[in-house]
Symmetry: C2
DNA sequence: TTGTAAGCGTTATCAA
DNA sequence: TTGATAACGCTTACAA
């Protein structure tokens, strides 16, 4: 790694002052065209690149966003978060920002990471990829004036409309409603919902969309809702009982699921039971549902990523600047899309 | 975010010079105990933390490792890379390093990222998570004296023993050999291998382990090897033919697979065909194989991550320092572990 | 429009 | 063992 050229080298080569070089880089408008072109040629001749750390020291900005990497969840659904982080990294780079990872085992550990990364001026903002009822992390960030946005709306005491809390989320109810309508259109009579135990912000939201769609078609959701942890095996076992008619309720001919893990479990249970015409619709559109040919609700994590950056940096902003007054509502709700496969 | 205290603040509070504070942080041995304790108290009283960018500017070291995030592969096996990145982040933090993400669509784009990140002194080293025959990226990094390590040994013209090219890999052959021996011990007679088309460094290695284990037990692998792309559906289709005896070879009673995607495909094919005693062994130990109760070879990505950092930073090193002469062979081969589930 | 001077917070060098 | 001084490369005043 040979020594990199600096602004001084460029200035020398272009016959201007260091400051002019800096202006060409940061405020091209205020420098005369001829001068600018000379400087630009010198820059490309020398292969000059600004030294990121020096710039950060001076501007007191890191141009970096921190995001927590979760230990591999053990679910199929990790794929959504993967795609989100990837899209975030890609779009952030286009806006001159970078993504720094950190890990934590508990919320307290995560707050310690907040402290470490903000005190060291390592990051300008954080992105949290899940929030829960009574989350201490958002409180800490608000209290310390650290910019952040969450993928996932604040459930619980936080005010959904609080303009301080920026959030992006997927309209889960709209997704399950679309899935349910698809099943209705396909002529299904008993459309169930396989979800997670309440209370679960995300899970209850998805159940709501299913129930609403049924009611709006004059049907009752009663007796058609089952809940298990987000686990293929648990779903398979639960649906085994339901499909063989062992349960109290009706036997479904379609099941809208809160996740692909559950959907795959339901699909396998149907195979186990020799039921071949059960319509199973998943959520997350993971490779597994694709491989099995199951329809699934696509979360569009790429759109969520763009929305996150729009909130943090402004629609066309190129830096996280808390002093710029926020426009808009402070949140983005992404409409999911049903991927139909059968 | 209130203004952070600086070394000067600490120095003032402790009644020493700035430099002494710096010494307490970076060379505690050379400062008298009494002084050191005074400074340390001041540090914790003020809640001082070094400013990362300033330190980086001065030391010309970023304490950061760059890693490419792949677009979600579409395979089940992404889980291994996920766990690896997570473990890398966690272990790097313990050694005072950070992990920065970048994306690229092509090798050329990735080289452009190398350039961008090294010129800006954003990273000290890179970790590449896959290498292929004739990889231009390692050449660029070597040429520009940028430290790097790869997860995956260099296949092809690179010298495996080149001490310049640090690599960590999983002994795939050992993994499939263990799987094969397990099948033999379980009394299976016709143990097949479902892998990927040649040439594939990783895939051929895994096939080798299976064939070797068979031969060492006096059996022949002939006619029991099938190859498809790493795709559940393709595997399912291929095995459907094999299991119904439609192929030329013998019908297997066990299948060692090059990945969990293939294993799940084989498992589903067996279910489709009504074959319930096919022993399927996967590779990668993903949640799906766990959920389906399939045995699988565990890659131990956490150990790979530790090995990567050991190579880059030395066994107990706390920084990437290319000037420190390397000890050891310059590579680590991790022994995988068979997780038995049936 | 361009140049000069100062300083961001840290550590390396060297003298005390 | 400690302290003064001088960078590291950049940008933000402000002056020319």
């Amino acid at each position: 790694m040979a020594r990199q050229p600096t602004v001084s080298d460029v200035a020398l080569a272009a016959g201007v002052s260091r400051q002019t070089v800096s202006n060409v880089l940061n405020a091209p408008d205020i420098v005369r065209t001829a001068t600018r072109e000379r400087v630009e040629r010198a820059i490309s001749d020398l292969g000059y690149r600004p030294h990121a750390s020096a710039r950060r020291l001076r501007t007191r900005r890191s141009s970096t966003i921190g995001i927590r990497l979760y230990p591999f969840a053990g679910g199929i659904s990790g794929a959504v978060l993967d795609r989100y982080v990837h899209a975030l990294t890609e779009n952030a780079a286009e806006r001159g920002m970078r993504i720094l990872l950190y890990t934590a085992r508990t919320p307290d550990e995560e707050i310690e990471q907040f402290r470490r990364l903000t005190d060291g001026a390592d990051v300008d903002a954080f992105v949290l990829t899940s929030t829960f009822h009574g989350d201490a992390r958002t409180g800490w960030l608000l209290e310390h004036d650290v910019p952040f946005a969450t993928f996932g709306r604040p459930w619980g005491d936080d005010d959904l409309g609080d303009p301080q809390h920026l959030w992006v989320d997927v309209d889960g109810a709209a997704g399950t409603a679309a899935a349910t309508k698809h099943a209705i259109a396909a002529g299904r009579r008993a459309i169930g919902f396989l979800g997670w135990p309440s209370p679960s912000g995300t899970g209850d939201d998805r159940a709501r969309g299913w129930a609403r769609a049924l009611r709006s078609h004059g049907r009752s959701p009663d007796g058609l809702r089952w809940a298990v942890e987000d686990d293929l095996t648990a779903a398979r076992a639960a649906m085994a009982g339901v499909l063989t008619g062992g349960g109290p309720g009706p036997v479904p001919d379609a099941v809208v699921c809160a996740s692909d893990s559950l959907a795959v479990g339901a699909h396998l249970a149907a195979m186990d039971a020799g039921v071949h015409d059960l319509l199973v619709i998943g959520f997350d559109n993971t490779p597994v549902s694709e491989a099995l040919g199951l329809s699934s609700v696509e979360q569009r994590p790429e759109d969520v990523a763009v929305g996150t950056l729009d909130l943090l940096m402004g629609a066309h902003g190129t830096a996280v600047d808390p002093s710029v007054p926020r426009t808009g509502t402070g949140h983005v709700l992404v409409e999911p899309r049903l991927i139909v496969r059968e």
